[in-house]
Symmetry: C2
Subunit: 169 residues, 2 copies
């Protein structure tokens, strides 16, 4: 009988996440001292890409509730017209699930990263990713994405259990 | 002898801040339920305006250190080519000082707002504002502003003590 396979949880690093977008992390960022030396600016952790088809960048707040465990990954989504950045507003680890593929994500390409509470991610335009997954009961995120004309959401559902994945947390 | 006058600290509200930009606050925001009902999206708290003169929006992290009290407001700055959004990453009150004026800010127009730890602001393009002021010893902010060609920073210094202001906190 075919059942969902487990998906290993990896640490989130810039190198590992490069195929999917940017990790927003002060580690490795360019540091500029500003405001008469009172402020450290960790510059350009992420680059917002929302201008296609007359899109405009907007800032929203997401309040994510934890899903019941074990978490079953049955779908991924992507935004063909813009990047989407998430940065946590409380210092708790959270999960980032992504996949590779053109017309659809390949189930064997799925990866799960454990982000710390001081790491954000900026999904690249067209990068397959799971909706936000939190480990705390509730966690807020600042989100920078796109508003504008056109269809900016595609979902792909894994109908076959063999293509689904269970997070081993 | 002319000395700096005190500047009263007011609560931060959308209405009071309207001449200077947007308040990012879930209160009054459009709420959308997404991700199979697991996530509340407080939609479009702020609109990023960085596209003039081939600018691109970027996301940075600012680590602000508290200035010695009393805080003397001696200058304001503005960004003629783009908006600049600040959202706090720890739940502590912070201060927002702004002013009105075309070529220079009028000292009698200065206002100081006390933002909560769950309120951000998005300074409008060309809105005069003071560099970030925190009440905690140290506070991080996610900042969405502009990268690109052109001069996007103007500073105005109040040389005369009568034009300067002391924050009464």
């Amino acid at each position: 009988m075919s059942v969902p396979k487990p998906l290993v949880v990896e640490p989130l690093t810039q190198a590992a996440f490069a195929p999917f977008g940017e990790v927003m992390d002060e580690l490795g960022a360019e540091l500029r001292m500003i405001n008469e030396g009172t402020t450290e600016r960790y510059h350009a952790l992420a680059h917002v890409d929302t201008s296609g088809q007359h899109g405009k960048p907007i800032i929203s707040l997401f309040r994510a509730n934890r899903r019941p465990l074990p978490i079953l990954v049955r779908m991924l989504e992507r935004h063909p017209l813009g990047s989407q950045a998430f940065y946590p507003l409380s210092n708790r680890d959270w999960l980032v699930v992504v996949g590779l593929g053109e017309a659809r994500p390949a189930s064997d390409s799925l990866r799960c990263f454990r982000a710390t509470g001081t790491q954000g991610v900026n999904y690249a335009r067209n990068a397959w990713h799971h909706p936000v997954l939190v480990l705390a009961p509730i966690q807020d995120f600042l989100v920078v994405d796109r508003e504008g004309p056109g269809n900016n959401l595609e979902e792909y559902w894994f109908d076959h259990p063999a293509d689904q994945r269970v997070l081993s947390i």
